[in-house]
């Protein structure tokens, strides 16, 4: 016990005597530890949120092309739409006996960069984003009327735009604000139509939170929108009914009565058909995307490991540089009866203490990184990361830092171990 107290006293005093280098080393260990934990946690949570998060649909039916783009566009409300499919196809699949729910999406407009999705009121009345949970409104909010210029605003979209029930807004053309009036696509041009907000949705922690929902008829009738359902250009006239053959949708979100029905429809659409693509199952499409992007994560992990290595090197050199000045101290302690392994342990313990302090501070760094990353990811995708969600890296990283500290401490400790008592004391008479 006395020896342990002496060890702790040696470590404590050395850390205090070299306060500046101790502080710098602790901070670098904290940055390394926090970075590693954040890289793993962000990767795991992002993957879980995108690949396994609540989607509520089994498949997406869209224009012939990339299933990944289709999913990104309709489930995560990112990227542009790969094209449109005729209304008749939507009607056909919605009447299929295997389909429980088919909801059409039409995209192409935004409000202050927030995506506007034209759809049917069923998105609020029938769709369950998690099993048993439908969209809920804040306060007295209610779904839009499919025949009126009304809108429902997602929670994050409401926070960003400031829109609330009763507010009026004018959509702009394009899925983002990147365009301008000179843009040939008309991106950024504000439409004349005004929409009244009938309700704001409660948060779902999903990409839907960033969406402003309006009736799909509103998209068809938005000024300047040209429908090419039959292949010929058609512009809706106020008050006149739009024939179904002119209507088109960006995608149809599908929920099957049983997940196994997806295979039959995939065969019908993707193998036998030529006009559309069925992205099924959605989770697989996203998982494939993450697999393709896996190298990015691996590079991030590599960088994090390198930072740990650099922190370990910094720790080693900061302690090693004090060894010459402390040689006399070790010789005196040895003359007082301290064994070689005692001074060796003191140095390793000192390095491990720095690692522990760094790891503890690393949780703060982790919290900051997660906070910033979560804000960015929430802003861009609507997905919410949880800083306090458990991940093995939260324990493994501090333990690894402790091991790195111990290993880094061994080199200077060997120098302390090798101190020759008699000659050192003689030189310091």
């Amino acid at each position: 016990m006395k020896r342990l107290r002496a060890l702790i006293l040696i470590v404590r005093r050395s850390l205090r005597e070299h306060a500046l280098s101790t502080a710098v080393t602790v901070v670098s260990a904290a940055l390394a530890s926090g970075l590693v934990m954040a890289v793993f946690a962000v990767a795991a949570q992002s993957r879980a949120a995108f690949a396994g998060g609540p989607v509520g649909f089994d498949a997406v039916l869209g224009a012939r092309g990339s299933a990944t783009q289709l999913v990104l566009n309709t489930v995560f409300h990112l990227e542009t739409s790969p094209g449109n499919i005729p209304w008749s196809l939507y009607k056909e699949v919605s009447e299929d006996r295997t389909v429980e729910l088919a909801i059409p999406y039409a995209v192409g407009d935004n409000y202050r960069g927030l995506r506007i999705v034209g759809t049917t009121p069923e998105i609020f009345t029938k769709f369950e984003y998690v099993e048993g949970r439908k969209f809920e409104f804040v306060g007295y909010g209610e779904p839009f009327d499919g025949d009126l210029r009304q809108a429902v605003v997602g929670s994050e979209a409401a926070r960003i735009s400031g829109l609330k029930r009763g507010d009026v807004f004018q959509p702009s053309h394009g899925v983002s604000v990147s365009g301008n009036a000179q843009n040939p696509d008309g991106n950024g041009v504000q439409h004349d139509e005004r929409y009244v907000v009938t309700g704001v949705l409660k948060p779902t922690n999903s990409p839907s939170d960033r969406v402003i929902w309006i009736p799909i008829e509103g998209i068809f009738r938005m000024g300047g929108h040209v429908l090419r359902g039959t292949g010929e250009n058609f512009e809706a006239q106020a008050g006149a009914v739009i024939p179904d053959e002119h209507k088109e949708v960006s995608a149809v979100m599908l929920k099957f009565k049983s997940p196994i029905h997806g295979r039959r429809m995939e065969d019908l659409i993707n193998r036998q058909g030529k006009v559309a693509t069925l992205a099924w199952p959605i989770a697989n499409v996203v998982a494939q995307l993450f697999e393709r992007l896996g190298w990015v994560n691996r590079i991030l992990e590599l960088v994090a490991y390198l930072v740990v290595l650099v922190a370990g090197g910094g720790l080693l050199s900061s302690i090693y540089n004090t060894m010459n000045e402390r040689r006399r101290e070790f010789a005196i302690l040895r003359a007082l009866g301290a064994r070689r392994r005692t001074v060796f342990s003191a140095i390793v313990l000192e390095a491990m203490t720095i690692s522990v302090l760094g790891s503890l501070l690393g949780y703060l760094v982790y919290g900051v990184i997660m906070g910033v990353a979560a804000a960015i990811i929430r802003e861009r995708t609507g997905v919410v990361l949880d800083t306090f969600e458990w991940h093995p890296a939260l324990v493994q990283t501090p333990l690894a830092m402790l091991a790195v500290g111990a290993i880094a401490g061994i080199f200077p400790a060997r120098k302390a171990y090798a101190t020759d008592v008699a000659s050192t004391l003689s030189r310091n008479l």
């Binding site: 006395k2 002496a6 006293l9 101290e329 302690l333 003359a335 007082l336 009866g337 310091n428």
Partner: protein
């Protein structure tokens, strides 16, 4: 029975050009438990080497150093460390206090690695030596005389059975030297520890009933070569 018994002790040094130089050759030396002995010797005569071997800091090449019947020469380094921590106190000429630690912590280290000392004893020793108001002071904040007293307290903090003192008053003025010597001898008497002191100061040596001349004791100095 002798507490310390040295017999046919030999220590050689090999110079960088390979020449073997005998620095120590002691045929016989004894110290009884509680006895206080002064060894007189000039600088470079091998006194410090002798004390280092007795303390187990250096290993002897040949011969026997028995402490309370235990052969120190046969012990490995770790066992010698334990022996030193358990049985010995050491007062160095330049005190060798640890500059980063307070006076009290310096003394606590004196008993930290053996079985006898404890923080209460360390504080008690410093109070006995009149340093009750200097417990938290670091060595550089103390006068030479106060540093000397901290060194004395540290040597006794582990309740050793033998104290080795290497020119313990070498850095003190005559008055302070006499005072420090009395304190050291008194503390050793109180704890029942034997004292083996080397010095070249006649005033210090004169205070001891038993004095040994290292020039006689060490036959290597007397001109005997291997």
């Amino acid at each position: 029975m002798d507490l310390l018994h040295v017999e046919n002790l030999i220590k050689d040094y090999v110079s960088p050009d390979g020449e073997v130089q005998r620095v120590l050759e002691i045929a016989n030396f004894n110290l009884a438990a509680g006895e206080q002995v002064a060894i007189r010797g000039s600088s470079g005569s091998g006194k410090t080497t002798f004390l280092h071997i007795v303390a187990g800091i250096l290993a002897a090449d040949r011969g026997s150093v028995r402490f309370d019947g235990e052969e120190i020469v046969a012990l490995n380094e770790s066992q010698r460390d334990q022996y030193r921590a358990r049985e010995l106190g050491y007062v160095f000429q330049s005190f060798h206090l640890l500059g980063a630690y307070s006076a009290l912590e310096n003394v606590i280290f004196g008993g930290a690695f053996g079985s006898g000392g404890d923080p209460a004893l360390a504080e008690e020793l410093l109070v006995t030596l009149g340093l009750e108001h200097r417990l938290k002071h670091r060595p550089h904040q103390l006068s030479i005389g106060q540093q000397q007293r901290v060194a004395l307290a540290r040597a006794l903090a582990g309740r050793p059975r033998m104290v080795l003192a290497d020119e313990p008053t070498g850095n003190l003025d005559p008055t302070a030297a006499v005072e420090a010597l009395e304190l050291l001898r008194g503390l050793c008497r109180n704890q029942g520890a034997a004292l083996l002191l080397v010095s070249h100061d006649p005033t210090v040596l004169g205070a001891f009933d038993r004095q040994e001349d290292f020039a006689v004791l060490n036959q290597a100095v007397a001109g005997v070569t291997p």
